[in-house]
């Protein structure tokens, strides 16, 4: 090895938020593996416990601590690393590295920053410095200027001309910006923008709207050797964030001249920046000339590099890490071929499509128009040997119920509305465009509205034409040639079935009759030029199959698909650990997944990787080919679990809990019967089919009640109704949307929520720990602050929980994992939910208890017994260490979405606080989640009636902390009664001091807002909460969270006094 490095501090990227998903776990994990291979000691810092990089297998010392420089300095003092690697942890880690450098901490301790220098990072990130560097090397950048008034704006328009983009500086939720086509529009938009901007400033930019957005993933080493790993073309033109664009690799519409021109530019740029490692260059290309502009550069590995890595098979993060420790490209072997070097450019002999996964199913009120701010939580990637098949594979990987481009519900949408939607670039534009083709629109017309290249539109139209050809024909009229063509173009059995009014199974049978089966091709970086060793496959309907089927025992693990709210990185952790356990047991592991951001889709994680959609058909095809001894569905969240009954019907062996036990736990009636038999209680409830029935049932149960549709339908989620009026409104709305399916009403028990993750082997249960939620029941468990070990329960309750968990696991015939949620209400425990699968909390509990849950569960599924596995049975003895999981939200990224906590999950990620006492753990957790509570200042309070009494003692605490109160009339009266002075503020539209203005003027430091009825997006409360989030003001919607925070403030913990904890030493 080239540099003398012994101990490296690797900085991770923290919680999953929009714009920063699992890709940095993938890159960080690859980097750590490289360092360890070199015999370098790895000290890891990441606040996110659901990651693989924070595993003992990956690092030598692990700090799950808040990501800030105070903490880093403490770790430096304690661990004395000689180097820091920050380029793998996204923008968060890179910013920390720059800050460490600027504050002189790196210099003070004589530490090397591996990879690209801070000066170079700065040059790439600082808008002005970057611009002047580009001018120096003669690379065009988009002309722009910041102005403070309309006159300057008009003057500048004389120089750059129209159209022109106006972006308010420090913009809130993207408001106030726009594109001006003439002086009048400029005047209008700029004056609005100047008003919206907190600093009265707008950025004027030459519009390149409609230009092609092209990305190059580059790699450069210490000697200056440069390669292009991959180039990618965004189907959506410039103007839609690349994270929200459908992206294709390689570019499809560029001739070699254009390809090489942009490649040359990328090389020139990263040479000038002196990048050492991976780098992403984004360029805008005029579709009518050789004109181009550099958009931006990411001087690090990124989401795009994760995609490029999976799209080509080239291990970008690994190579970047090797370069960071001194290697050069011609010294690094290409793992894929095993014989060539990393210094070459991958070539693809297939087409890759990435489609973002958006959270609008969770945020139904949200504004779905895509723009320059990313809103997707995750993405799927699909590989095909034609564009159509890659696109259709991608669509069905999204798990949005779409197997075709045909969407029945669009038939009733007016053409005018369709045009509006595609002009806005809505997240569902693909389906709207398809519908427009069905209505006879021409490629040319749609291209001119959307700016999408005609090539892609023609390909979409190809699919539409095929769909229309077979729609409403009888399946028996689809002969072998046609069927083969459809399959080649990526049509699924279900999709064909839907169009021909038959079932997917009928198509499956017909396909079998015709002997049409997929074959699998290898992703090998070299287009078949060299023999490859990468066991990485995708399906096509071709002639020659490339998979060698071994005679070994094998087990298939179904992954969890794209990152979304409710199903995050934790399930990738589980899938990967499942694979590791299989390897330990000498079993060949096969993984199927479609998420390019993950560790599970690294081709060296499992023995074989199939990059395929996670649908019934696509997984069954692989099973039929590989004939594994069993399939594990417990680790991939809902994505894999929902395959259970189908695979069971098809005679596939499901390892662990059976399809039957999954069904019992999910079917309300069956589950209730089981609980009755076991004598375990659950909150009383009823399914109702009319408003009257619902009101009657609720009267009997007693308010408040929890209501939810029995069948997930677009537009309705779970809510708490506090009174008849709220319930009536909900029911009315629900039955209007869907009159056939019942609405479920449960007694809402406002008690302490407890959660258990356990392993059951048929005889014994092992419960690593009981967790307690800080927020009372009613807040989704994923959004609650969760405390391990449970603090507030007595020994007797603990025993009851163990007993009930054992009974449930036994009765459900669980083999492997089970997650159970309880509520403790008036001294009794009730079961709220049972999931016979891995849960969100498994990684964190495994880490803090040092019980490798997935490894044990996998071995149990293979027939081993817990008592022989060395971790005991029953309830694990609690550790002294306290761990607090705090959820992290991305609400500011999603305009017009409700932020108040409730029964539906909203958080995108989580952090862990680890301490020797609960207060420290909670303090660290809150700090890690960036919940910065001001110690004093101005607090804006509005509390709904249900919570007013409870709020009083907290109000007194706040007063003692010198908070100045601003309150709406009801709350102000309450405060006055308690002798707490407050300034009365008026509601929106009323005369007087308006609360929105207060927030807008930056006068408020803390907002406490208890949502009232209905959660109407037009309500004042909604607007207050949105404003607060957009202004980055701490906004609390649960009294329990408030209480915890107030208690922590009262303790006056100082960051200087806290100790950083290596979780390997707990």
């Amino acid at each position: 090895m080239v540099m003398d490095i012994k101990k490296v501090l690797v900085i991770g990227s923290g919680p999953i938020i929009i714009g920063q998903a699992a890709e940095f776990d993938y890159s960080g994990t690859q980097a750590c593996k490289v360092l360890k291979e070199e015999g370098i000691e790895v000290v890891l810092l990441n606040s996110n416990p659901a990651t693989i990089m924070t595993d003992k297998e990956i690092a030598d010392a692990i700090y799950i601590e808040p990501l800030n420089i105070e903490v880093i300095e403490k770790i430096i003092v304690k661990e004395k690393p000689d180097s820091i690697l920050a380029g793998m942890g996204g923008q968060i880690a890179l910013n920390l590295a720059v800050e460490l450098y600027k504050k002189g901490i790196i210099q003070k301790y004589g530490i090397d920053l591996l990879g690209t220098d801070v000066e170079c990072i700065d040059k790439a990130e600082d808008r002005e410095k970057f611009k002047s560097l580009m001018q120096k090397i003669g690379e065009p950048v988009i002309e722009s200027k910041t102005v403070n008034n309309i006159k300057d704006a008009i003057d500048y328009s004389d120089i750059i001309g129209f159209p022109m983009v106006i972006r308010p500086a420090f913009t809130m939720g993207g408001s106030g910006g726009g594109i001006a086509n003439d002086v009048d529009e400029l005047k209008e938009i700029a004056s609005k923008g100047l008003k919206y901007s907190m600093v009265g400033q707008v950025l004027l930019e030459k519009s390149v709207k409609g230009w092609k957005e092209i990305e190059y993933e580059m790699m450069r080493d210490n000697k200056g050797n440069v390669i292009t790993v991959c180039n990618m073309e965004n189907i959506d033109p410039v103007g839609v964030h690349t994270g929200d664009s459908i992206v294709v690799a390689p570019s499809q519409t560029l001739s070699d001249k254009e390809y090489q021109m942009l490649r040359n530019a990328s090389i020139k740029i990263i040479d000038a920046l002196n990048i050492k490692g991976g780098c992403n260059v984004q360029l805008a290309l005029n579709p009518e000339s050789f004109k181009y502009s550099v958009i931006e550069v990411n001087p690090r590995v990124s989401r795009s590099s994760a995609l490029a890595s999976k799209a080509t098979g080239y291990p970008i993060a690994k190579v970047a890490a090797k370069i960071a420790i001194g290697y050069n490209l011609d010294e690094i072997k290409n793992d894929v071929t095993g014989r060539t070097y990393a210094c070459f450019e991958p070539t693809l002999d297939y087409c890759v499509v990435k489609i973002p996964k958006w959270p609008f199913d969770k945020f139904r009120t949200g504004n779905r128009a895509l723009g320059t701010k990313m809103m997707a939580t995750g993405e799927v990637m699909a590989i095909g040997n034609n564009f159509e098949s890659a696109l259709l594979k991608g669509v069905r990987s999204l798990e949005i119920g779409q197997y075709n481009l045909y969407k029945e519900s669009l038939k009733t949408v007016s053409t005018k509305e369709l045009i509006e939607k595609i002009e806005l670039t809505d997240d569902e534009r693909l389906f709207y465009i398809s519908e427009m083709f069905r209505r006879g629109f021409e490629i040319k017309e749609i291209s001119s509205i959307t700016g999408i290249d005609k090539f892609y539109l023609d390909k979409i139209k190809n699919i539409v034409d095929l769909e229309e050809e077979i729609r409403d024909t009888c399946i028996n009229n689809i002969y072998k040639d046609k069927m083969l063509l459809l399959k080649k173009k990526g049509f699924s059995d279900k999709g064909i079935g839907y169009l021909t009014n038959s079932r997917g199974m009928d198509v499956y049978k017909m396909r079998k009759k015709y002997n049409i089966e997929p074959v699998y091709k290898m992703v090998d970086t070299c287009g078949g030029e060299f023999e490859a060793a990468s066991p990485y496959y995708y399906s096509t309907y071709d002639t020659v199959d490339e998979v060698d089927i071994s005679s070994k025992d094998k087990v298939m693990v179904i992954g969890s698909g794209p990152i979304r709210i409710g199903q995050g990185i934790e399930f990738d952790y589980c899938s990967v650990h499942g694979v590791l356990a299989l390897k330990e047991e000498g079993i060949e592991s096969i993984i199927v997944n479609n998420n390019p951001e993950t560790v599970s889709t690294d081709f060296d994680t499992s023995d074989k990787l199939y990059f395929e959609p996670l649908t019934e058909e696509d997984t069954l095809n692989i099973i039929e080919k590989e004939k594994p001894k069993g399939v594990i569905l417990q680790y991939g969240g809902q994505t894999s679990i929902k395959l259970a009954s189908f695979l069971d019907e098809m005679g596939v062996k499901i390892l662990g809990s059976s399809a039957e036990s999954i069904d019992v736990s999910e079917d309300r009636e069956k589950f209730e019967r089981l609980l009755d038999k076991l004598g375990i209680e659950r909150p009383k409830g009823k399914g109702v089919t009319s408003i009257e029935e619902g009101l009657k049932a609720s009267e009997k149960l007693g308010y408040p009640v929890i209501v939810r549709p029995s069948y997930v339908l677009g537009g309705m989620g779970m809510e708490i109704a506090y009174d008849k009026e709220e319930l009536e409104k909900y029911l009315k709305n629900a039955f209007e949307r869907d009159s056939k399916n019942p609405v479920l009403i449960d007694k809402y028990m406002m008690g302490l929520e407890l959660e258990v993750d356990a392993i059951y082997d048929g005889e014994d249960i092992l419960i690593p720990g009981i967790m307690e939620h800080l927020e009372r029941a009613g807040v989704h468990s994923g959004d609650s602050i969760s405390i391990y070990p449970a603090e507030k329960i007595c020994h007797k309750i603990e025993e009851e929980i163990v007993e009930a968990s054992y009974k449930l696991a036994k009765a459900l015939e669980v083999r492997g994992l089970i997650n159970i949620q309880y509520v403790l209400y008036e001294g009794k425990i009730y079961v709220i939910e049972v999931n016979p699968r891995a849960s969100r909390t498994v990684p964190y509990i495994s880490k803090v208890t040092d019980i490798p849950m997935i490894s044990l569960a996998t071995k149990v599924m293979l027939g081993k017994k817990l008592k022989n596995l060395g971790y005991g049975t029953g309830l694990n003895k609690f550790k002294k260490t306290k761990a607090v999981k705090v959820p992290v939200f991305s609400m500011e990224k999603l305009p017009d979405t409700e932020i108040a906590l409730g029964p539906e999950m909203k958080s995108t990620g989580e952090v862990l606080g680890v301490g020797n006492d609960l207060d420290t753990a909670l303090y660290k957790g809150l700090m890690g989640a960036n919940i910065n509570i001001p110690k004093g200042g101005k607090v804006l309070v509005s509390i709904s009636d249900n919570y007013k009494k409870e709020f009083i003692s907290r109000a007194k605490d706040l007063k003692n902390m010198n908070f100045e109160f601003f309150a709406t009339s009801g709350t102000a009266r309450l405060l006055e009664e308690q002798g707490i002075p407050s300034t009365k503020v008026s509601k929106i539209g009323e005369e007087g001091l308006c609360l929105i203005d207060l927030i807008d003027n930056g006068e408020i430091d803390l907002v406490i807002n208890m949502p009232t009825k209905g959660r109407d997006s037009r309500s004042d409360g909604f607007k207050i909460r949105r404003r607060a989030v957009e202004r980055k003001i701490c906004c609390l919607t649960s009294l329990d969270t408030l209480s915890a925070i107030v208690d922590i403030i009262k303790k006056d913990i100082k960051i200087e006094d806290i100790e950083v904890i290596d979780i390997c030493s707990i």
């Binding site: 200056g224 390669i227 090489q260 287009g527």
Partner: protein, 351 residues
Amino acid sequence: MKGQLFFEDGTIFEGEIFGYQNDTLGEVVFNTGMTGYQEILTDPSYYGQIVVMTYPLIGNYGINDDDMQSFSPKVKGFIVREAYEKFSNWRGKESLNDYLLKNKIVGLMGIDTRALTKYLRDKGTMAGKIIVGEMNEDSIFKEIRKFYNHNAVDNVTTNYIYSLKPKLPKVAVLDFGIKKNILDSLIKMNIEVTVYPANTLAEKILKDNPDGIFLSNGPGDPSELNEIIENIKNLIGKKPMFGICLGHQLISLALGGRTTRLKYGHRGTNQPVKDLNHDRVYITSQNHGYVVEEDSLDKEKIEISHINLNDGSIEGIRHKELPLFSVQFHPEASPGPQDTAYLFEDFLKML
């Protein structure tokens, strides 16, 4: 229309004919470039060959007027997985299909090109025949077995001497099937270029007194070109000399080296080449089926300047005493990366 690709061992790949409908016989080679099909079609080095593209979507940006490497397509046949008809690019003038049809080049599409590539990789470059329609005769196999890409250079070299952009210095170019972009690259250096037919005698060239001599790329087996090699011997040392691809092989042969056939050649735009003098690796465009054997070179006089990082084969040589160097790869790119364009500057400095 159905079409089939036959190999002498009886292997058949089935697809559909596009472009011109006719049978065609040639050496079947694969190219791994993802862009640049137009340059490949018109590169004279592909004379006598049926080219398989490993990238599946070909024709996306159509055919334009600017990217031709010679006046017409030189391949004997073109095999793709999908030939896209409705091209989309501002420079595109006609579709791939129309272009091939117009130039009477046979295309075969709908082939499992990856399987075909792996077949060629395993068996090595071979002759093959595209047959229109369905036919299976022993005579085909006999014909295929007999095929050899003889005297390819004769078919692609210029018939007359011509000069481009009179300026100084002057370079004599021996045309063995030169790509347009090589001429463009020389002209960009402000060099006056005079192009000579491949078999022009040394005396004639030297009489014209150029400042340097350039030996171009071209098709076929270099060891067959005995007269040309002898002729080059008479040029070496007389003037600064630079050769590319076939030119490089011919210089090596004239210096007493040997060439041998690569199993399946280097054809693509992603070949890593190490410049041994500068300890740098460049990504290069390549297109050759023959290579200079390392042990055949007189190391006293000749140094190896470049090697291929994938298989270690010779990619460039430099004479230790004389102003002479040559490279196996294509610094002029088109298609492919332009990372080694500096070699044209090196040549200019010699003049």
